[in-house]
């Protein structure tokens, strides 16, 4: 009421949720050392906060065994004065991060198979979306949220469904998912995520210039995106590939029960084990003979 805190909102006030990949197995093999990486990122976060005193930054660590919030500018206290060595918030962010990594290590059971294991992107993504929903709930005036995935680990197949769900949910609530992928080969997950939610997918070529990428592309607030041309995410090929031979197909058979894809006709669905009636192909054609396209 009378003593209500007066909040001001400009069109470009934004909530930036950063998903930080802290998968140790990736970093230990990455060309860009984590220390460099993090300092780029911190600098970027700092600028974002500086751009508007209402800008809000939330950082979620995407660990190998767990995910957790490691920074939230809205809850954090002293922001203004720094120790002089680095912006104030950085120090307590790093503090949290350190704790997080330790916890992550404790959870480690070992026995991770060859190759770089994936980190729990689906988890952090889901958390980010929950947080953003909370912002939406906070009332008619809220910062414009967007998600930025700073990711390097390869995709984890077992997360696919979860991540897809998250992506669609984000799309529904019109939250763009930007993704900056610093791993070796491109990430199918993030490409789809950015493509579907209208975010930007980039794979920086010059890793030392990471900050420049961040500040040039990802710093753009949603309001300005209306008037700027950002790098178009590469058109993702939406052809599927079959479960049976894993080859890309442009025509295939779908199991009506579990929607798994096959390149040829099977008697029985290998995924859900249901046995098929007669081949649908002729049913289809006869059906569309009946079903008549109006010209």
């Amino acid at each position: 009421m009378a003593s209500a805190p007066s909040k001001l909102y400009a069109d470009d006030v934004s909530l930036l949720v950063v998903l930080l990949d802290t998968n140790p197995f990736f970093w230990s093999s990455s060309p860009l050392p984590f220390s460099k990486f993090i300092s780029h990122v911190l600098a970027f976060l700092n600028t974002t906060l500086r751009l508007h005193q209402l800008n809000q930054v939330v950082v979620i660590a995407t660990g190998y065994n767990c995910c957790d919030y490691i920074y939230d500018s809205s809850s954090a206290t002293n922001q203004s004065s720094g120790t002089g060595m680095m912006p104030a918030f950085c120090s307590n962010l790093l503090e949290k991060l350190d704790k997080f990594v330790t916890r992550d290590e404790q959870l480690e059971k070992g026995g991770q198979e060859g190759g770089i294991a994936s980190s729990l992107l689906s988890g952090s993504l889901s958390m980010a979306l929950c947080y953003i929903q909370r912002i939406f709930r906070s009332g008619p005036l809220h910062p414009h949220p967007r998600i930025l995935c700073l990711h390097g680990s390869p995709d984890g197949p077992e997360q696919y469904v979860a991540i897809m769900n998250a992506i669609f949910s984000a799309q529904r609530s019109m939250v763009p998912i930007d993704s900056c992928y610093i791993g070796a080969q491109n990430s199918a997950f993030l490409q789809q995520a950015s493509y579907i939610t209208g975010g930007v997918y980039l794979k920086p070529q010059i890793l030392d210039g990471l900050f420049q990428y961040l500040s040039t592309v990802y710093a753009t607030d949603l309001h300005s995106r209306g008037s700027l041309q950002l790098p178009k995410s590469v058109g993702v090929d939406f052809r599927a590939s079959c479960f049976c031979h894993k080859r890309t197909i442009d025509m295939g058979y779908i199991c009506s029960v579990c929607l798994s894809i096959f390149c040829m006709h099977h008697k029985k669905c290998s995924t859900c084990g249901s046995v098929f009636g007669q081949a649908q192909s002729d049913v289809a054609s006869t059906s569309n003979k009946r079903k008549t396209p109006d010209t």
Partner: protein, 451 residues
């Protein structure tokens, strides 16, 4: 409409207005850089950021590459703003056309800001010295109440009470524009004064500060210094205590004045005295755009012209009184009605219907704020209508003639009046007519001649 609006928009225009020398001087201060950065339009911000580490000049073409066709206007605005603030320096050469580069001092400060964060010239005082500091909430209330009481001063002074505890320097500021004090009689609010009351807090704040600065300019204080000080102040952390000794003479006096407005809270310890910046102070460097500036509202207007205000503040009730008739006042609810009369005296005070409506909309209670329109159409229309009513009737000084000796005299008079284009009204039965004043004299002449 009201000039007040235009000037009160943003504090930064003022900075922009400063001469080149001064600007460059200002940019020495990291805080000003940040404040300026915040105040920029979104696109401009982005440009600055992305050029923050680039020392080469960037051809304008490569910037435009990024702009979508319908973003062009925004783009230009941004660039102009940057040039105006001398953050971009323009250079031209044959091959690449015009190209920009970031103002070196600005750039340097920005980089510092990014890597090291901003460092205040003065440390907050250790809690050992300052016994107990007011909590943020208390502080906020303090600021609010301070600010309100200052506004009340304005209103009350209009209601012919004598100004209390406002320093003369502040008083002088009100003299500029808000109040008119004719000799002898009590100071009363000017039109802009009334409009001022209906503005939202930040607009008011900026207005006052601007006035304050330009005022102090007359005393011979360098506005640049003031500005930089105030901006700096806005970055002090609210609720922390800062030692007065860290301030120089001028700053100290300024702080005192600002304390009157509730931007800072002064406290006296055993030996040192210190100031505690409040929320108002931090708002100084806030960038503001139209969609922005929202307080939690408290007013509900119903289609039957009733108006409920859930508020405890005296100020609110006073402001509402400006244009509505208050019917009940509960401890935290005020029930009023918008009536023709109440509006009329608002209009007389030079408040426009638009201001009233926008006020009602800006302060709409959250319950109805999400409805559109938050103020019922019929009320809005009626308010506008009543305003136009005022402009409908026009007065012309005139003279009334009757008791003509004879009809033909009357006829003649009418004709004469008609010829001289001064006939306003005639009643041939009762033999009366009304002519406007210009014609009056000739008319008299004419009638004399008749005799």
């Amino acid at each position: 409409m009201p000039q007040v609006r235009i000037i009160a928009r943003n504090f930064m225009d003022m900075v922009a207005a400063l001469p080149a020398m001064k600007l460059d001087h200002l940019y020495q201060n990291a805080f000003i850089c940040e404040a300026i950065l915040r105040s920029l339009p979104p696109l401009a911000k982005k440009y600055v950021i992305q050029m923050c580490y680039i020392e080469e000049t960037i051809p304008s073409k490569s910037l435009e590459e990024w702009v979508l066709p319908d973003g062009l206007s925004k783009h230009r605005v941004a660039i102009d703003r940057l040039l105006q603030l001398r953050i971009f320096s323009e250079s031209f050469d044959r091959s690449t056309g015009t190209s920009y580069r970031l103002n070196p001092t600005f750039q340097e400060n920005l980089q510092k800001l990014i890597t090291y964060g901003a460092v205040l010239p003065r440390e907050p005082m250790p809690s050992s010295v300052t016994a107990r500091l007011p909590s943020l909430q208390e502080l906020e209330n303090y600021a609010m109440q301070k600010w309100e009481c200052f506004l009340l001063q304005l209103i009350n002074s209009a209601q012919a009470e004598k100004m209390t505890n406002i320093s003369p320097s502040m008083m002088r500021i009100f003299q500029r524009g808000l109040l008119t004090q004719r000799d002898k009689e009590a100071p009363r609010l000017t039109e802009s004064g009334f409009q001022f009351l209906l503005m939202d807090t930040n607009a008011q704040l900026w207005y006052i500060i601007r006035e304050y600065i330009s005022n102090s300019e007359e005393i011979g204080v360098d506005p640049a210094d003031l500005i930089s000080f105030m901006l700096e102040l806005s970055f002090h952390e609210t609720g922390q205590a800062y030692n007065m000794n860290t301030l120089d003479e001028i700053q100290r006096s300024t702080i005192k004045d600002l304390a009157d407005l509730g931007l800072v809270k002064l406290q006296q310890g055993r030996k040192e005295s210190w100031f505690i910046p409040t929320k108002l102070a931090t708002n100084l460097s806030v960038s503001l755009t139209d969609s922005s500036s929202r307080k939690e509202g408290y007013v509900m207007v119903e289609t039957n012209f009733r108006l409920y205000a859930y508020s405890t503040s005296k100020l609110h009730s006073e402001i509402l009184r400006l244009f509505s008739r208050v019917e009940y006042q509960l401890p935290n609810l005020l029930v009023g009605a918008i009536t023709k009369e109440s509006l009329y005296n608002a209009f007389e005070n030079g408040i426009t219907s638009e201001q009233i409506i926008s006020f009602l909309q800006q302060n709409a209670h959250p319950r109805i704020a999400e409805r559109t329109p938050s103020v019922p159409e019929n009320v809005m229309d009626q308010i506008r209508l009543w305003e136009t009513d005022l402009n409908r009737i026009e007065m012309t000084p005139a003279h009334f003639y009757d008791e003509f000796p004879s009809r033909d005299v009357f006829e003649a008079a009418c004709d004469f009046a008609r010829e001289s284009g001064g006939l306003l009204w005639e009643d041939s039965k009762k033999m009366r007519l009304v002519v406007n004043t210009e014609v009056h004299l000739q008319m008299r002449e004419h009638l004399r001649r008749q005799k």
